[in-house]
Symmetry: C2
Subunit: 205 residues, 2 copies
Amino acid sequence: MIFENIKEESKQKIVTAALREFAENGYNRASTNSIVKRAGVGKGMLYYYFKNKYELYVYLITQSLGVIEEHVNKQINLDETDFFERYRQTVDIEMKVYMENADFFNFMSYVFVMENDHLPNDLSDSIEQLKTEGFGSLYKNIDLTKFRDDIDVEKALQLIQWALDGYQQQLIERLKGTDFSNFEFEVYQKEFMEYLNVLKTSFYH
Amino acid sequence: MIFENIKEESKQKIVTAALREFAENGYNRASTNSIVKRAGVGKGMLYYYFKNKYELYVYLITQSLGVIEEHVNKQINLDETDFFERYRQTVDIEMKVYMENADFFNFMSYVFVMENDHLPNDLSDSIEQLKTEGFGSLYKNIDLTKFRDDIDVEKALQLIQWALDGYQQQLIERLKGTDFSNFEFEVYQKEFMEYLNVLKTSFYH
DNA sequence: ATACTCATTGACTGAAATGGTCAATAACTT
DNA sequence: AAGTTATTGACCATTTCAGTCAATGAGTAT
């Protein structure tokens, strides 16, 4: 059960099935028929609880972003002014949440990292907005004086962002399809730290 | 005319139309009906020159990779041992080719950068192979002693790769849909150099 | 028992789009 | 006139899709 406080059993089943279906196929290729088959309920139930496919998708995104945001906001330490340490903490928290549910992780990968097919309407925009909002806490109260004076800090931060995005994307690729049962969190943590240290050494004076 | 040496006029039309269709939609969403409509030829012509949709796609990829490879191989200077300068040269050459034809550029974006939908058979693998082969010349005869001794060079190179991939992806996003007519090559070149310099300053001793 | 409400079903709809075929024919060449 | 090559587009069979709705089951209140 990813999202609590859903009393209705069938709705719960649909939400769980939909999360997996969207995680595997993205919005456009995901099929409502497949969702209800997976959920083991009649087709009508989907349209009893949700107006249509689109609203179901929006519901999932909203809930998911809420879950992540809640965890990060609750656990992040804004007194830590070191950029890399802040980054490490953020990813740490997120990873712990994702590990609870691989479908959730893959769904978020679709929403965040992968191209959102051709999403209808303005959903694509609002995802982008929520994404950058989410990244906001990444830069709050960060000590930029630690960076070398002979480089353009803004460009450096951008490059670091891109590099770490690359690392995460590669991690997603590696983890795709696994159920996380044999995922060694400590091993990943160590590897991630090593990459962070390379960046730290290079970009700090 | 992107690929020369096609005498057959109709085949040429189909290839041009197909490049655009695939560039806009990727493999799965691209429609053969749409291609022939765009090409202004009868449906049968597509199946006169190509066995099926898949073979048409493979043909385009093969040709495209050939064009790029040819240009790079002909123009790259392997005596240049500086990694960043090598990278700059490579991207430079590629950009000049892409600027001749925006469809070609967008098609290659799909093949390389974006997720290849769920490509049939082993095509996805062979693209990956050609991609890494292509990157091969990026590391040939490179002077690694220029890198700082206090960092893991292999990890550093990987991070640089990810960062510059990020830059390129962002560039693709910015250029998407444009016809390149108002694309200021020198402006882009300058910007790219600035990012390269940040990396150079940070990772070289 | 009766009536009423909420939950649930799945066969069905109509539309769209798909890749691919093929008999017919036009356009050239010999 | 015969033969070859290029070209057409109506047509096919199939799939898939989001969404509907009359029917019914389950539970509760009267």
